[in-house]
Amino acid sequence: MTEEKHILTMLVDNEPGVLSRIVGLFSGRGFNIESLCVAETIDPQVSRITIVTKANEPLVEQIEKQLRKLINVIKLRDLTGSGSVQREMALVCVRAKPENRDEILRIVDIFRCKVVDVGSEYYIIEATGTEDKMKALINLLKPMGIKKIARTGTIALFREPH
């Protein structure tokens, strides 16, 4: 059975130890985490956790069931596919040699990114988009010299009906 990427999003109690329960479940049962994002929702008592995992069909079923079984998981949804909006964010510190600066700014423009910090030799670029867009952007910037990079995992929301 083939492994596929799944975006699992869940609402959880915003309490100490809850993230640890979820992460512990993944490590204890040998499930995989590709990325993980956590932040409070509009209700301060509730947080949203988004986990990207790679698993085959029966395994993802098992992962979802095990997560739902946790007392602190209020709601869980698999947001894989086009029914949801998915975004990642990255801060990329790229070497900006005088001869590369135009090219970098062109890429920033095409990818609808922003230069958020300008140093004497480096730009810091802020980018958001899908995972594929992030990968493409990073590939284009790589030849210029990426000094450091900070990326988030995927966050996602289910699309509302039209």
Binding site: D13, P16, G17, S20, R21, G24, L25, G28, P58, E61, Q62, K65, Q66, R68, K69, I71, N72, V73, I74, K75
Partner: protein
């Protein structure tokens, strides 16, 4: 009403109907133990915290109520962990109260501080560190609710010392409100219609019942279904007693040390109805070959159990008892009449397996351990509560003692915890002071919690310990004999204490049998003696448990006597 944290705990314990607690005090529980003395709740002082949890666990298994234990912070709590994991693996409702250092010291590596909530997170159904006395009543009520509902399990509540001492207004009988925790008790009746159709058409059905049937008090409904629809029943180790072991439709236990007929009929059946089971690897052997000809129906209250280990044709999430009752109500009299004829050849086949491959052993000059269990069954007329340690003693008890009622066989099935039997027997005896409670033990595992004999003597709990003493860690030795060219690495235990003298040292009675003709006399004397007794049976040293399915093999490929 303004109460301290310790007083609130007493109030909630009373509300929850707790009559007995197993515990061991320490600096971080003094306030609770101090209050406990002023109530009617009996506190049993164990000799090691592992014993406290096993005793609470044994109490829960025989009563169906929540067992409660109380341990102090740091080492008290870590000592309890094996007990917690044992209860977790077997889905036993236990509430563990642990003391904790005061909140302002948490994280400071204070004396006897340990992050027990962190340690027990993967082996509890849920756990809490109580942040303030205001939160205590809610958390305690939730703990009991979570422990006993759905698929039961242990819940640990860690109460810092200053929370025990602080006061707050206490409102009695608070309702539990949990946002997302809502176990599914009522099964989907559409699914059950399909199950009923399969029951009516199957030529070679088998019911495979587990601990969930006992936990949900579904034994009666299961027995009704099996007898009326003429379906033979095999059980997991945890399911022994869910269906009468002496019933002609009983196949006995399934799995690695299951009976020939149970394993063969699972291999040959065309319908397997798993109820309250989780298809553990000790049951299924090689999963590809498990019930390969059958449609598998799986009924369980825990959705994670379903499709975890084996593919299932019809999954049913629901309480076992409720589900069985609905199935029974769907089966009409006229359907049932037809079934007797349809099932005939299948039941004949099973009877042939039963006659040709009985559980057996060869009588010799030395005492055979199976003979001791058989005699125990005979003398107690199958009416005792049997607890076991883990290993060969456990398997022989499971094979040669037939359980006709639920809650009579108390064993560590999932975790396989040596040292479980004696403290569990103490818990069972506390629950039923007049019952005959016997711990079937090995010489290895009894030494793991032997200190609890002092508890039994102190509280005049007349538990009987039957040691099948073969001077070996017998089950591992058996694997070494069969799969490691008889290299008995580290399994010989020829420096055990003199168990008779040890019993006497504890203030109990010790008896010994070394020849087969002494077995019955010693058992009779031991069972008739008031108070706790240790019986030391010197049994054949290199006896193996058969049938045996080698790990990872299909369960139909058994090594036989």
């Amino acid at each position: 009403m303004k109460l301290t944290g310790a007083q609130i705990l007493m109030e909630v314990l009373k509300e929850e109907g707790v009559d007995s607690i197993f515990g061991f005090p320490g600096g971080a529980t003094i306030d609770i133990h101090d209050r406990l003395e002023t109530t009617d709740i009996r506190h049993y002082l164990v000799r090691h915290e592992q014993g406290a949890v096993h005793a609470a666990d044994g109490y829960a298994r025989v009563t169906g109520k929540v067992g409660v234990c109380l341990v102090t912070s740091g080492p008290g709590a870590t000592n309890a962990v094996t007990g917690v994991a044992t209860a977790y693996m077997d889905s036993i409702p236990v509430v563990i109260i642990s003391g904790q250092v005061p909140t302002h010291l948490i994280g400071n590596d204070a004396f006897q501080e340990v992050d027990i909530v962190g340690i027990t997170r993967p082996c509890t159904k849920h756990n809490y560190l109580v942040p303030s006395v205001e939160e205590l009543p809610r958390i305690l009520k939730e703990a009991f609710h979570i422990a006993r509902s759905g698929r039961p399990g242990p819940v640990l509540v860690d109460i810092p010392k200053n929370v025990q001492q602080a006061s707050t207004n206490f409102k009695p009988k608070q309702k539990v409100k949990l946002k997302s925790y809502n176990p599914t008790y009522k099964p989907n009746s559409k699914q059950l219609r399909k199950v009923v159709e399969l029951i009516k058409s199957a030529k070679r059905p088998v019911i495979f019942a587990g601990g969930g049937v006992i936990l949900s008090k579904g034994a009666e409904a299961l027995t009704k279904l099996a007898r009326s629809a003429r379906i033979p029943v095999t059980t997991s180790l945890m399911g022994l007693g869910a269906f009468p072991g002496s019933d002609p439709l009983s196949l006995g236990m399934i799995g690695m040390h299951g009976t020939y007929r149970a394993n063969m009929s699972t291999g040959e059946c065309d319908l397997l109805i798993g109820i309250g089971v989780r298809f553990d690897d000790r049951v299924t052997g090689k999963t590809d070959c498990f019930a390969a000809q059958a449609e598998i129906v799986h009924i369980d209250i825990d959705p994670t159990s379903i499709r975890k280990n084996v593919p299932v044709s019809i999954p049913v999430v629901g309480d076992c008892q409720t589900t069985l009752e609905v199935i029974n109500s769907f089966l009409a009299e006229e359907d049932l009449d037809k079934l007797t004829a349809i099932r005939g050849p299948w039941l004949d086949q099973i009877e042939a397996w039963k006659q040709n491959f009985k559980l057996s052993y060869v009588q010799e000059e030395v005492i055979k351990p199976q003979y001791v269990v058989e005699k125990l069954y005979e003398l107690t007329r199958g009416d005792a509560i049997i607890t076991t340690e883990v290993g060969q003693n456990q398997m022989w008890a499971a094979q040669f003692y037939l359980f006709d009622h639920p809650g009579r066989f108390v064993t560590s099935g999932g975790l396989g915890t040596m040292g479980f039997g004696l403290p569990a027997a103490i818990g069972a005896q506390v629950a039923f002071p007049d019952a005959l409670v016997v711990d079937v033990a090995g010489d290895g595992s009894i030494q793991m919690n032997i200190q609890e004999m002092a508890t039994a003597v102190q509280y005049k709990l007349p538990v009987k310990v039957v040691i099948l003493n073969n001077c070996y860690l017998g089950m591992v030795r058996q694997w070494q004999e069969l799969f490691y060219d008889k290299r008995y690495a580290c399994t010989c235990m020829d420096h055990a204490p003199d168990f008779v003298k040890l019993a006497e040292a504890f203030g109990a009675v010790g008896l010994r049998a070394t020849r087969p003709d002494e077995v019955e006399t010693v058992l009779r004397r031991g069972l008739e003696t008031p108070g706790p007794v240790i019986m030391d049976f010197r049994v054949a040293k290199e006896e193996c448990v058969y049938p045996m399915v080698p790990a990872g093999a299909p369960i139909t490929e058994m090594l036989l006597v």
